[in-house]
């Protein structure tokens, strides 16, 4: 049991590091646009913030799916996340519809290739 939680901790640390790296890249890209710089502490704090937010998001999504009698989270659940922010909901709905349209056009395309 204790070894299980240790593995858990190690996995979470690695996931957080990966998230940190990604956020660092996004911050760099945005800072170019905004003509500013970000301190490493800023990136670290933002990582913690996003991590905590994702913790809530994960539990919310699971609860939404469960409430609908599903075990698979689908896009409706994600749209529910933005239920209190009309602008965000609109943005996400637009994104989902665009993806659906692109998916129909390309058949089983793997989204935007990077």
């Amino acid at each position: 049991m204790s070894s299980d939680t240790e593995v858990d901790e190690a996995l979470r640390d690695r996931l957080k590091s990966a998230l940190w790296f990604t956020i660092g890249k996004i911050v760099d890209a945005e800072c170019v646009t905004l003509r500013t710089n970000a301190s490493p502490q800023f990136i670290a704090a933002l990582t913690e913030l996003v991590w905590t937010q994702l913790e809530n998001v994960g539990r919310d999504l699971e609860s939404f799916a469960k409430h609908a009698g599903r075990t698979t989270v689908n896009t409706d659940d994600v749209l529910l996340l933005a239920r209190r922010n009309d602008g965000l909901e609109e943005l996400l709905r637009g994104f989902v519809e665009k993806e659906v349209a692109a998916g129909k056009g390309k058949g089983k395309g793997k989204g935007r290739a990077r």
Binding site: A18, T22, V50, L92
Partner: protein, 130 residues
């Protein structure tokens, strides 16, 4: 015939380096490279959290890790959500930093580095908005 000989010699021993480009050409090349970089940067602004990473993080937070799954479109949408969250945090921080920079008596008026305190100021509203 000397001219042919010279040509043959040149063919045998091609110059190792391409002839130095004139300064104008170099500048043009640099401009092109910069343009390409800018294009890449525009791509960068659409950097998202990699879906695989996001999936593993979310999976980690599901209470029934082995039962609950997430569909690919839902994952992409969550990626968009997360990206919007992150960008919003950065832009709000930059706005706060700009404001405090204009304050003439501001003690923290040093450079335009986004700092943790900017994040502290915007976090309550950000969390209410998301």
């Amino acid at each position: 015939m000397p001219p042919r000989k010279a040509a043959a010699a040149a063919a045998k021993n091609p110059p190792l380096l391409p002839p130095p480009a004139s300064r104008e050409e170099q500048e043009q090349e640099q401009e092109q490279e910069q343009e390409q970089e800018q294009e890449q940067e525009q791509d960068e602004s659409t950097v998202t959290v990699p879906p695989q990473l996001l999936q593993r993080i979310l999976q980690e937070f599901f209470e029934e890790k082995k039962k609950t799954r997430i569909s690919q479109p839902a994952l992409n949408a969550t990626g968009e959500y997360t990206k919007t969250f992150i960008r919003e945090a950065i832009w709000r921080a930059a706005a706060i930093r700009k404001e405090s920079g204009q304050d003439p008596g501001g003690v923290k008026n040093m450079g335009s580095f986004l700092e943790v305190e900017d994040l502290e100021k915007l976090t309550p509203q950000l969390l209410l908005d998301f």
